[in-house]
Structures are given as structure tokens and as C-alpha cells.
């Protein structure tokens, strides 16, 4: 077999996303098709999707998606979950056996409600409690990984090409008002099930094309606040940074984008709007350890919306298009055309310029 170097593998990760501003729910096969023209950007070592609005019947419960290495791990983990949650539904996530996806772990989902008695004794709000539980399982329970933990949303990921992963998880059977997708070409870290994108915490999810040079600086800072990076790849830290900035610190999405993809000091100094200049100076000073350097284009998913963002130097490609109530985001225009051949207003945001799309209030 010839290895990389002897043979050129023209890859570089792929992301795509779609959202309906009117909250119309779309089956997951369209986003799966978006990944087909970008096939060569991935190398079969990871693919995944996040869908929002997919569990309307259980929308008031946290949907925990887990990988287990063996049955006994699942039993132990369930015992642990029962101490903290009321489990209203527990089931295997349905998959379709296909030859291109092999070696799957045990894949399970639980719809849960935190036990009020545990919440009050720990003096935590519900989201913080769920986030800490996820960290605890991922860091301490060998062979168990929570890869999705939000309400009315879910991540689906695997080792394989994204088109196959969508088929494996039968995404055509789910309907969401927004979807994100990722095809992986791991550069520095192993291609394993937990390392596929999206990386999620609560209802936040991140798909990422790129490579973070500042990973360890970011990791050391964010781990001071209880987050634990356990999934052996850089993107995970982006999810925790955004959770910290948006949920814990209460920043707006735009402000969080200005922290992680901060403009250069020279660009800030040239700003003529004094308020804006002061705000950027404050954010860079206050959260200097959360500046993410190196190439990235990401789509950040949350309940009711998406945010697309490039690194400040724009070292990765990303285009946006729209049609009627839908907005499309992808690494390549071809992926947008695969979802909607008649997409309009195709444009590329500048480096560090967040594009935030929200579903109309009350429509999700």
C-alpha cells in the first residue's frame, strides 16, 4: 500500500449547514447530499452531523447520545445516570448496516430530566449540572463518551465519509429546522468515533475545518473553569470556549466571535467608531487566552440558530447563500448548489466576520 507522501491525498475537511429562518423542518438527507461534491476534502476518517428541532416529542428533556465500548460500560454508566437523572426514554440509536462503516461502538441515547433533589443539593442550575455530568463521564468513565447533550437536538458522528455516516444514522428519518455537517481529514490526531465532528456541549455544537495553533494555550485556560478536553482533537476546545463565553459569561455571539477571531491591534486602532474600538480593546484584554489562532472556518449551532465564522486571516474557505426562508453555509459553493441549485446571493464573509442566522422567534 502506498502511503500519504507517495500518493497525494487532496483533502482538507469540509463543513456545510442549512437553516430555515421560518423554522420549517427539513429531513437530514439533503445535508448529507451536500457533502457529496466535497467528498475529496475528507479521507474517510470522520464524518458527522448535528440536527436541531429533531426531537419535538421529547423537547423538554436533555437528549444524551453516548458511545460505549462494551455492554458492561453501558450498565455502569446507566447506574450512574440514574443517580442524577430521571431517564424517561432509553434506546439504541437506530443505524443501518453498510459495508463502509465498520467497528461501531454501542450507540445509545437517553432522554433525561435532572433530579431536582440532586440539583438543589449541588446548588447548580440545570445546564451547569448537565455540563458537569458530561465532563465527568467523558473524563472518568473509561469507554463511555457523551457526544451530544442538548435539548431537542442531536449529534450523529462516526468514522467514515460523511455521506456514508448520514446513511448509517438514517438521517432521512429526522427532521430539523437546522443542520450542520462535517467531513473530516484528521491531520494531527487519531481518526476515531469520539474525534469526529460535531463537538457538542448542551445545545451547542461546532463543526470545524482547520487546525488550531493556539490549542494548548486555549485548553490550559479553559480547563481552569471545569472543562476537560478528553476527545484528543483541537475542535473540542472551541465548543467549550463558546460555552464559557456565551452561556457562562453572557457575551453576545458577536462579542464571542470578536474574542476568538479578534481583529489585529492595528485594525482595532484604526477603528473610527470609538465605542467599538473600546469594546474590542476590552474583549482582547479580558479574554486574551481565548484568541484562537491558526486556520479555521466553523459553524456554531445553538437552539434557534447558527453562527458561521472564519479565522481573522481567513485561511479557510467559506461561502454563504440563500433561497427563500433558508440560509446555506459551506466550504464550497458546490455544496450549496447540491442542496439548492437555485441558491442566490452567494458571498464569502471576511475573516473574523461572524454571520449569525436565527430562526424567527416562536418558530422553533
Amino acid at each position: 500500500m502506498r502511503i500519504e507522501g507517495q500518493v497525494r491525498i487532496p483533502s482538507g475537511c469540509a463543513i456545510a449547514a442549512v437553516i430555515s429562518r421560518d423554522g420549517n423542518r427539513m429531513p437530514g438527507d439533503n445535508i448529507t447530499h451536500a457533502m457529496e461534491p466535497m467528498h475529496d476534502r475528507s479521507n474517510g476518517l470522520g464524518g458527522g452531523f448535528a440536527g436541531y428541532g429533531i426531537y419535538p416529542a421529547y423537547k423538554s428533556f436533555y437528549a444524551l447520545h453516548l458511545f460505549f465500548d462494551q455492554r458492561s460500560t453501558r450498565k455502569d454508566c446507566e447506574a450512574f445516570l440514574k443517580e442524577r437523572f430521571e431517564i424517561v426514554q432509553s434506546e439504541i440509536i437506530p443505524t443501518r448496516k453498510i459495508p463502509r462503516i465498520t467497528d461501531e461502538p454501542i450507540i445509545w441515547r437517553y432522554f433525561v430530566d435532572p433530579l431536582k433533589s440532586v440539583l438543589s443539593s449541588m446548588q447548580l442550575d440545570e445546564k451547569e449540572f448537565v455540563a458537569r455530568t458530561v465532563m465527568k463521564i467523558n473524563a472518568e468513565m473509561k469507554g463511555a463518551y457523551v457526544f451530544s447533550s442538548g435539548k431537542n437536538m442531536g449529534a450523529f458522528k462516526a468514522v467514515g465519509f460523511p455521506e456514508d455516516v448520514g446513511m448509517f444514522y438514517q438521517l432521512e428519518k429526522y427532521e430539523g429546522y437546522s443542520w450542520t455537517a462535517h467531513g473530516r481529514y484528521p491531520t494531527n490526531t487519531p481518526g476515531w468515533w469520539g474525534g469526529a465532528h460535531p463537538f457538542t456541549l448542551l445545545d451547542y455544537s461546532v463543526v470545524h475545518n482547520g487546525e488550531i495553533s493556539s490549542y494548548d494555550a486555549n485548553r490550559r485556560f479553559i480547563e481552569m473553569f471545569g472543562y476537560k478536553c478528553t476527545l484528543q482533537t483541537d475542535t473540542e476546545v472551541i465548543t467549550y470556549i463558546l460555552d464559557y463565553l456565551v452561556r457562562v459569561q453572557g457575551l453576545t455571539l458577536g462579542e464571542a466571535a470578536s474574542v476568538i477571531a479578534a481583529p489585529f491591534w492595528s485594525t482595532i486602532a484604526d477603528k473610527t467608531d470609538l465605542e467599538d474600538r473600546k469594546k474590542h480593546q476590552f474583549l482582547r484584554t479580558m479574554f486574551s487566552s481565548l484568541l484562537i489562532t491558526g486556520p479555521f472556518s466553523i459553524v456554531f449551532g445553538f437552539s434557534g440558530g447558527l453562527m458561521a465564522l472564519n479565522d481573522r486571516l481567513k485561511l479557510r474557505s467559506m461561502v454563504i447563500g440563500e433561497k427563500d426562508d433558508k440560509v446555506y453555509i459551506a466550504s464550497e459553493e458546490a455544496a450549496i448548489r447540491a442542496m439548492e441549485p437555485e441558491a442566490e446571493n452567494i458571498w464569502a464573509p471576511a475573516g473574523g466576520e461572524p454571520v449569525i442566522v436565527k430562526v424567527r422567534e416562536g418558530a422553533y
Binding site: P10, P37, D40, K314, S317, E332, R337
Partner: protein, 240 residues
């Protein structure tokens, strides 16, 4: 003229079909196939749909016409020929290009003309009808980049940090560039009539390709930018 339907074709079989063709080709239903016409020297290719990255990479004399937008790295390391795009293009167009011409009716993304170079009679030319993104002409070492800013009144003609690391070649921007910051190793100045003579034939070609009135396009202030030193790296070494 040979018609090729690109639907269901991957980039390899698509390029094989192009190479096997003994006449000019029209591609339809193109959707993201990469490396189209890479290295080709003798054909004229018309594309409908969106071609993938590295369109016309190493192009060596062939002529490509795209009716829609093109993606990243158009004309990567191209040597001769021409690429005409009726829409806009993605990032890093003309990367390390050393000959031939690229004409784009719409906008260019980041890093257009990065590391363009020239050698003897090989002088690459890129004309962008709309606006260009940041880092235009990054590390430019040769060739001519022209940005016209047509139909882009609301936008700046170029983003941040144009000409970073530029040490050869020439850039013409159809603007007085009052609000644009250039690095210290280049000298932007209003283009004198005799300097504009160099850009004029390329602008004429652009106007006839896309149906603009050349006199109206030329009737605007132009800024010309060249590196100001024969040794731009001098400041990086200790003087002794």
C-alpha cells in the same frame, strides 16, 4: 464542439474526458469537480455550473470560460493561457501564477495574486472587475494585478493588508486609495498617464469580454503600487 455532462463524474474521469476530446469542449452540470483542465495547453473549454477548486491549475495555454462563479485557487501556478470568469471567485486566485491571464467580472476573495511572479517574457496578468478581499498581491514577486471596483460602490476596492510582502510586479487599483493602508515597503502613488498605458490593453480586453465602455472605466483615478526597493528583505538583517 464536444458536449460533456459532468453530472456523476468525479474530477479524474472528467479530466480524462477533456484530455481525450479532440475539439473544444463545453461542460454542463459542473458541481465542484477539482483541477478542471489542469496543465492543458490546446483547448477552449466553456463551463456551466460551478467548477471546483484549482480550476486551470498549471494551465499551459488552454482557454477556460466559466459562466458562473468559480471557487478557490483559480489558475494555481498557471503558466500560459487564459481563464475568464463571469461571476466571482474564491480565495487565493492565481497562486504562484507565472504567465497567462485571468479575467474576473465580479469580486475576488482573499489573497488574489498571492506570490504571482514573472520570468523573462512571462508576465502574468489578473484583472478583477469588482472588489478584492484582504491580502491582495501577498508576496507578489512579478506580474500585473488590476482591480477595477466596478459596481462595488458600497464596498472598499480592497480589504485589509494589501501588498503584504510584495517585492516585485505592479498593481493598479481604480481608486484614489485614500482610506487604504499599505505596508511600508511599497510605494502607492496616483498613476501618471504613461504608467496607465501599461494597464490599458488589459483593461480594454476586460471591457470587451464583459461589455463595459472602456472610456468610462478609464475615466477614474487609478493608484499604482510597486515595491520601493530592490532588496525588500534588507530591513530584516543587521546592517554591517
Amino acid at each position: 464542439m464536444i458536449l460533456i455532462d459532468a453530472k456523476e463524474l468525479d474530477y479524474r474521469s472528467l479530466n480524462n474526458k477533456l484530455r481525450e476530446a479532440d475539439d473544444d469542449c463545453t461542460l454542463i452540470h459542473c458541481c465542484g469537480q477539482r483541477f478542471i483542465a489542469a496543465g492543458m495547453s490546446d483547448k477552449s473549454i466553456t463551463i456551466s455550473g460551478v467548477p471546483g477548486n484549482a480550476l486551470g491549475a498549471y494551465l499551459n495555454g488552454a482557454s477556460i470560460m466559466v459562466q458562473a462563479n468559480a471557487q478557490d485557487a483559480v489558475g494555481d501556478t498557471m503558466n500560459a493561457g487564459q481563464i475568464i470568469v463571469h461571476g466571482s471567485i474564491g480565495d487565493a486566485a492565481g497562486y504562484a501564477m507565472r504567465g497567462g491571464k485571468i479575467f474576473v467580472k465580479g469580486d475576488a476573495g482573499y489573497r488574489a495574486g498571492i506570490h504571482m511572479k514573472a520570468y523573462q517574457d512571462k508576465v502574468p496578468v489578473m484583472v478583477i472587475g469588482g472588489a478584492a478581499g484582504s491580502f491582495l498581491g501577498e508576496y507578489q514577486a512579478g506580474g500585473v494585478i488590476i482591480v477595477l471596483g466596478l459596481e462595488a460602490e458600497q464596498k472598499r476596492i480592497v480589504g485589509n493588508f494589501p501588498c503584504t510582502g510584495m517585492h516585485g510586479g505592479k498593481m493598479f487599483l481604480r481608486s484614489d486609495c485614500k482610506h487604504i493602508k499599505f505596508p511600508s515597503q511599497v510605494t502607492p502613488h496616483p498613476a501618471a498617464p504613461d504608467e496607465l498605458l501599461e494597464a490599458e490593453p488589459f483593461i480594454s480586453e476586460f471591457c470587451s469580454l464583459f461589455g463595459y465602455d472602456k472610456n468610462a472605466v478609464m475615466d477614474a483615478p487609478f493608484t499604482v503600487i510597486t515595491p520601493d526597493s530592490k532588496n525588500p528583505y534588507k530591513q530584516m538583517y543587521v546592517a554591517n
